[in-house]
């Protein structure tokens, strides 16, 4: 057993061997998914609750499908509409849910650290589906799997992460994961969208897109998170696209076989040119979505194994 974690809260606390274990399992799930092989016994009898305090159709659907493919009873809770409007605190919500004995809790929250806080108060396995500007571990894992399948390896690659790094939990989790697997990471962003201290994480920081993209193997675009901005980070979307949007001319500075990634949903014509996004020779964006389901199946499978092992142990002690 090389995956010991009880929760999947972030990439920060995962060991490289845990990452590899998870990706290996996800890889096989990806193949099975393509062939239509079902695994409804893996999470049979377990209850998975998706708690989204922030809207996300895509991620929630991905977690829901992953759970259902493995046989879990999946329930979605729209937390925006529910108790927080009535003034209930996050911890009370957690305790209430905990009393219903779920097995897997998938949580997205608009505040950094909120999922960690919630995980301290429940007995089930918690999966972070994105907390504020902090982490989005399953996104980084699905990106890693996509890269590994496209490039045949997940080390010694030169990877550019471009765009709104400041507001991106995807960027933070990816920097952590790709760094742990010993890749060269180049961050490209206008200075207003680059968090401070990023060079101390071992990343190279660029303000010029063409310079930053030079000879990279992977181009990872980020969504401009307009909803997280309180104004004035960039002068306009058209100037942003001109200077930082990925088009054929800028992509020409990367390696000829460089792949293009985007976590979605895309702002076409803002951070990425539509023709690049649709170019089946360069873009792996659809594959990322596909790997998302496989990675989430693998994550829930491994966490459920640990959860069952822990419960058996407790019962052994009590007997």
């Amino acid at each position: 057993m090389t995956f010991r974690a009880r929760h999947l809260l972030g990439i920060e606390h995962l060991h490289p061997t845990e990452i590899t274990t998870l990706l290996d399992l996800a890889d096989s799930y990806a193949d099975h998914n393509r062939r239509g092989v079902a695994h409804r016994d893996v999470l049979a009898g377990l209850t998975q609750i998706n708690m989204f305090f922030e809207n996300s159709t895509r991620t929630q659907a991905s977690f829901e499908i992953a759970g259902k493919r493995l046989g879990a009873d999946v329930m979605n809770m729209e937390m925006q509409a529910s108790s927080i409007k009535k003034g209930e605190t996050l911890i009370d919500t957690a305790l209430t849910l905990n009393a219903m004995h779920p097995d897997l809790l998938v949580v997205r929250h608009p505040h950094s650290g909120a999922v960690d806080l919630l995980a301290q108060k429940v007995n089930c396995a918690v999966l972070n589906a994105g907390d504020g500007k902090h982490e989005h571990p399953t996104q980084a894992l699905l990106d890693a799997l996509t890269i590994r399948r496209a490039k045949g390896r997940l080390h010694r690659l030169s990877i550019a992460i471009c765009g709104d790094v400041a507001h991106s939990r995807v960027a933070r989790s990816n920097i952590m994961l790709l760094g742990k697997m010993e890749n060269r990471i180049r961050l490209i962003a206008p200075p207003t969208l680059m968090p401070s201290g990023m060079n101390e994480f071992g990343c190279e920081v660029f303000e010029d897109m063409e310079e930053g993209l030079k000879d990279v193997d992977v181009v990872m675009m980020l969504r401009l998170q307009k909803e997280r901005m309180d104004g004035g980070f960039i002068p306009s979307e058209r100037e942003y696209f001109h200077r930082y949007g990925l088009d054929a001319a800028k992509l020409a500075h990367a390696k000829p076989d460089a792949i293009v990634m985007h976590p979605g949903p895309m702002n076409r014509g803002v951070e990425i040119d539509g023709t690049i996004a649709d170019d089946i020779n360069r873009s792996v964006i659809q594959e990322q979505v596909e790997m998302g389901v496989a990675v989430r199946m693998a994550a829930m499978d491994l966490l459920a194994q640990n959860l069952r092992a822990a419960r058996t142990e407790t019962q052994g002690v009590m007997a």
């Binding site: 505040h111 950094s112 650290g113 806080l117 907390d131 500007k133 902090h134 982490e135 401070s196 201290g197």
Partner: protein, 426 residues
């Protein structure tokens, strides 16, 4: 009233900056005489200090007592007991209550409650502007007559420079002390931590340390213009120090303080979103911390405060960005400050200069000195006694201390206010 003679005391004198064995006689609530050897006791009651430290009681500028409005967080009774246990003999209370202390009537309420319940001296501050809203100045004259020792909008900045300059000018005519919070409001809006590698790693909104220097620069310019008497409540960054030094050298009427948490903790202590470490301004880098400790040792920063801010569990058990700011500090001020002494960054007389003498000078008080004629506000403490802090044992109603479980050194053995013993630790 009988005289009290403290013998075999290690006298910490913040005026002479000495740390010597001696004795001290208290008569009629005041220090009558200081001796360098034990004198004949006569009929005085003798307290043998056994070589432990005898120092002036701490004068803590900027204590939040949550009366009126949030008495469940802290009352004058609980804050007064916590102060006595912590060796604080004078608390200077903040006006950021609900409602704010911005009229002589609310100030009288504070004084009446303090008089009834607190065993230590309580000196209230009043708001500088009505409702702390930064629009109209308060009745500074009436409030001063009613006993306000300083005027401050606490952690709010008066953003309208015209309003602030008028308030400073008016305060100058009454020789009233104005206490400012030096954080540029635009840059610090929404910030939960100091920007940098740690903030980026945790995905928390950060404020550049430059926000402090910018606000200090602005206030210094207004002091130059108005000549008011001004105290910057918390200077916590290296970058603000040259401006402070220059302003003092140019003869402006300016002093500065710092909270003990900024002297003993840094931004990394927040670790995995520990909200008890969320304070305002946020904890800084280790480089800033060391620079600010040095500034206290050099006397550039005048005052160390606890910045005692009680918060209940509900306001802290939240995601970091949503959690309330502030930490209690009355009972941990001394052992926390003594960390600097044990780390050999400052000696005891200089530490007590910042805890007693300088705050007394800022406020124009007689206390804070081991001199004949000064009020007998004294503490006896053992700077080396080890303890492990247990927050449930705090006398404050709120237990939001960042030092829970911390190993510290320094126990208050006794506290005297006007010659009366108000606290004893056996």
């Amino acid at each position: 009233m009988t005289d009290t003679l403290f013998i075999n005391a290690r006298l910490i004198d913040p005026v002479a900056l000495t740390d010597t064995l001696g004795a001290l006689l208290v008569r009629g609530g005041k220090i009558a005489e200081v001796f360098d050897t034990n004198p004949n006791a006569g009929d005085a009651q003798v307290i043998d200090c056994g070589g432990k430290c005898l120092a002036p009681g701490i004068i803590d500028i900027g204590v939040k007592v949550s009366e009126p409005g949030e008495r469940h967080k802290e009352s004058f009774r609980s804050a007064g007991r916590a102060a006595a246990a912590g060796g604080v003999t004078t608390i200077v209370t903040r006006p950021d209550t609900l409602p704010a202390i911005d009229t002589p009537e609310t100030l009288e309420f504070v004084e009446r409650r303090a008089q009834a319940d607190a065993p230590v001296h309580v000196l209230p501050m009043a708001a500088l502007t009505k409702g702390r809203e930064g629009r109209e100045m308060t009745e500074i004259g009436f409030l001063q007559d009613a006993g306000a020792v300083a005027f401050s909008d606490a952690d709010r900045v008066v953003t309208d420079t015209k309003v602030f300059s008028r308030a400073l000018t008016y305060a100058r005519s009454l020789d009233a002390l104005v206490i400012g919070h030096t954080q540029d409001p635009g840059l610090s809006k929404g910030a939960a931590v100091t920007s940098g590698k740690f903030a980026s790693l945790r995905g928390l909104p950060g404020v550049t340390p430059m926000a402090e220097r910018m606000a200090l620069d602005r206030d210094i310019a207004l002091l130059e213009m108005t000549g008011a008497r001004y105290h910057a409540s918390q200077i916590t960054t290296a970058r603000a120090l040259p401006a402070l030094e220059r302003a003092k050298r140019n003869g402006l009427n300016i002093t500065a303080g710092v909270g003990v948490h900024h002297l003993t903790l840094n931004e990394m202590d927040v670790a995995d979103y520990r909200t008890f470490f969320k304070v305002k301004p946020p904890l800084r880098s280790e480089d800033d911390r060391v620079a600010v400790v040095q500034a206290v040792a050099d006397g550039l920063i005048d005052v160390i405060s606890s910045m005692h801010t009680p918060q209940d569990e509900e306001s802290k058990r939240l995601p970091f960005e949503e959690a309330a700011s502030g930490a209690v500090g009355l009972e941990t001020l001394l052992p926390a400050a003594l960390r600097l002494y044990h780390a050999e960054m400052i000696d005891l007389p200089r530490l007590f200069r910042a805890l007693t003498l300088n705050p007394a000078r800022v406020l124009g008080l007689e206390a804070g000195r081991l001199q004949a004629g000064a009020p007998a506000d004294l503490i006896l403490f053992d700077p080396d006694a080890p303890l492990q802090l247990d927050r449930s044992q705090l006398l404050s109603k709120s237990k939001n201390t960042p030092f829970d479980g911390a190993r510290m050194q320094g126990k208050v053995l006794g506290t005297w206010v006007d010659g009366d013993r108000i606290w004893e630790n056996a």
